[in-house]
Amino acid sequence: MRIASGGVTDVGRVRANNEDCYKIVEPLNLFVLSDGMGGEAHGEIASAMAVETVVQHCLDLEANPAAQVIGPTQPNWSARTKRLSTAVHLANRKIFKSAEENPDQHGMGATLTAVWIDGAKLSIAHVGDSRAYLLRGGSLLQLTRDHSLVAEQVRRGILTAAEAEESDMQSVLLRALGAQAEIEVDAEEHTLFPRDALLLCSDGLTRVVTEPEIAGTLQAETNPGRAAEKLAALANERGGPDNITVVIARAEKDSNGWFSWLRRGARKNPDSNGNVGGN
């Protein structure tokens, strides 16, 4: 599977600084996004620390494969899923420790949503209310559940999804990096199919842009970077009340299938992936 990706982060139209942070590590097909919180510039510190810690720990997999695994794991998880989940635990410890040691950073925290793609396997780890979606077969599938008060109320049947969208309490999180010494991390594995489009975003997008609009943009604009920019621009058109970050990755099928030689002739620049076949 070939992965094409792109991302954008934007301060929005209301906030003075951008507390969001993201990183795409192309050689690893690793995508990490974080939304920071805390007074002064501390939200920026927290989100940068979160992204950096997760990326470093994942990059370290080759060099140091036996590193300790933190937190509960499933027996069938791949090494990458365990690594990613552990990396999120490490990021939490780091932010928590920093806030404890520096009293002026008290209350700083961050969300974290990270996806690591290895062939057809997608590993995801997540804390907070930044989301991951998969566009597949024209449907937008949500891979994360928000760790927010209103989302928990929807899951418990206290609020409907529509009531939650109108709630004044949307910013209240039940879980975030840096709030407690140890936290629970949601981690899962999924299968990636050709033509799937993955989207990670901060709540600055989902508060003002609807899911059908996100799905429509992903379908209309297949270039990941341009699609991310279009979505951020749409959020700004709606007032840009918060920082907006969008990361998009698309899975494209390698052309080594049975009938690929039929399609090869139609392509402008045939690649050299070792296929043999007639013209």
């Binding site: 998969l134 077969g137 999804a161 209240v172 999180l173 899962e188």
Partner: protein, 241 residues
């Protein structure tokens, strides 16, 4: 501070101020404003602040509560109003500054929060309990205890029944599909089910599935007992006890 003056024969018998706590009025001595008269019920009425306004509420008394000679069950009070209970009159003095509003607890609306904040464990338990108390619809709680299951009615699949535990369930021929379809020309990924906060949504994949005979164009929430048809397979979605 606003106050209530219990009058008898145009003389002040007792005065109480109305603060953040409600003032209870009645014949029983445990009231904030006891009124010793047989026409007064043991716990007759209470006065309190709600959203910055002083309110009197009759506590299902036998002889009733009157504001300016009108019988009321609940009424907003203004400066100079008179409450009549039995043969007694209570003068309302609302001229002072209103106390920090005492909320009746009926509608625990929280202040608007723009900045993202995280609740610690204790706060979050309290808020969820408060939210549960105000939410009248806890009937879903029962549903949540049940196990979402797909039962295969017809067609070739690798199992007869699937418990939906993942956020994403793929129906297809793919080796990675949860519900694996068998047979030639079956699509790798025929359809999928996405677990969201408010339920399970069936969405199209390479095929357009049907729910209870109706083709769907986008994600549709599954209800207990729905019949799902896709790629020659019929599945029954149920919440199993």
């Amino acid at each position: 501070m606003p106050k209530l003056s219990l009058m008898f024969d145009n003389k002040i018998v007792k005065e109480v101020s109305v603060g953040t706590r409600p003032v209870t009025i009645g014949r029983s001595p445990d009231n904030d404003l006891p009124v010793d008269n047989l026409a007064v019920s043991n716990h007759h009425a209470k006065v309190y602040y709600e959203a910055g306004r002083m309110v009197v509420e009759d506590l299902a008394s036998l002889n009733g509560t009157f504001v300016n000679d009108l019988r009321v069950e609940r009424a907003t009070l203004h400066d100079g109003d008179n409450i009549h209970i039995g043969k007694h009159k209570i003068k309302v003095d609302a001229s002072g500054d209103a106390p920090v509003p005492w909320d009746s607890g009926r509608r625990p609306t929280a202040p608007r929060i723009d900045e993202t904040m995280v609740l610690d464990t204790k706060e979050r338990r309290q808020m969820l309990q408060q939210a549960a108390a105000m939410g009248e619809s806890m009937q879903f709680a029962g549903t949540r205890m049940k196990v979402p299951t797909l039962v295969v009615l017809n067609g070739h699949t690798d199992q007869k029944e699937y418990v939906l535990t993942n956020r994403l369930t793929v129906i297809g021929k793919s080796a990675m599909a949860t519900v694996r379809l068998k047979g030639w020309f079956k699509p790798q990924m025929a359809a999928q089910i996405n677990q969201r906060d408010d339920g399970f949504y069936l969405g199209p994949g390479d095929k357009v599935p049907r729910i209870n005979g109706n083709p769907i164009s986008g994600p549709v929430r599954l209800n207990d007992g729905d019949l799902v048809e896709v790629s020659g397979v019929r599945l029954n979605f149920i919440f199993r006890e």
